[in-house]
Amino acid sequence: MSTINKTDTPAKTVIETAGMDAHYGERQVLHDINLSVGEGEIMVIMGGSGSGKSTLLKHLLGLQRPSAGSIELLGQDICGLSRKQMLALRRNMGVAFQGGALLSSMTVGDNVKLPLRENTKLDENTISIMARLKLELMNLAGFEDLMPSELSGGMLKRAGLARAVIMDPKVLFFDEPSAGLDPVTSVELDELILQLRAALNMTMVIVTHELESAFKIADRITVLFDGKIAAIGTVEEIKQSSDERIQNLIKRKPRDKSVDADAYLQRLTAGGRK
């Protein structure tokens, strides 16, 4: 691993993983992940398809348990928490999934209000105003009474983000914010992410393929290759990395497809007739 020196790491750590491994069956998909994200920091996770970005996100969310190592979130080791403790911790976490993940049987407004209705005893007037404030922020004013099936992909994504931040979480996890959005909406979403951080000091972990967006919003970037951290650094440090794979990712250079003939033949014929 050619780790770039971390700079400007904020003092208070909100997320920390140490020596984290992850497996799907016998296949190891994450190797020795050591990551720390400070309060109010925007950490962008980048890497090619299959690099382990989504798996890392699932582990940070506590949806999957690591096969080795530890994950601390807001000072708590999430691997040792009971279900009840994990639910309590999740009240401080917002998650915006790639497709919005709204419940199809509820209106957009009810989807956005759901975390407040489930987790607080706030007055219904307060809940309605909070939901409308967030829908306004996402440029979705007037869409409250529509069903998710009546929204476009970009609108679903923004509605999902409105729901993710409805409780002003301390930590926001965001999977591919810009994917599928038109360029103008994508830039607006980047601005919104920066404004949310400035106003609410939200810590964010954002998985993205979009280089332009990553370079605009990230305080630091973690680059994954084959389930390993290739580099962690500021935007400038990542841009100046001497790691050829990182430069290929930045320059969108296709992966090397040259073939080791023996290994290729072995893969094609393994398990076949002797």
């Binding site: 706030l122 105003i129 404030l133 306004e136 002003d168 949310l196 400035a198 609410l200 000091n201």
Partner: protein
């Protein structure tokens, strides 16, 4: 969060101190609505407020709307730092009458 009530000119002044969030915003809401229910003008002093979340903002929006309907004054004094950024993010700086200092009143 502490809410200190006092009189200032013709306003009932609410001096907010500390942080307003999901756990205590209902206290702010009830306090504001009870002042308006007594048909008093409201001055919400933000000068020592460190943090306000959306539930606190919602309490202000609802109360401001009630004040407007009753033709009562409702002003925010001395917003700065993170609370001001929240008001800017939600574009409420153009909705609430904002004053920088007591001398402006």
């Amino acid at each position: 969060m502490d809410i200190i009530k006092s009189s200032f000119k013709h306003y009932e002044r609410l001096h907010l101190n500390g942080e307003i969030d999901l756990h205590n915003s209902s206290v702010l809401r009830e306090t504001l609505l009870s002042i308006l229910n007594a048909e008093q003008h409201v001055l919400v002093d933000f000068s020592e407020l460190q943090y306000i979340d959306s539930s606190g903002i919602a309490a202000l929006v609802e109360s401001f709307n009630v004040a407007k309907k009753q033709s009562l004054e409702f002003k925010i004094l001395g917003a700065c730092g993170s609370p001001l950024q929240v008001l800017e993010l939600t574009r409420l700086v153009s909705v609430f009458p904002m004053v920088d200092s007591e001398t402006c009143l």
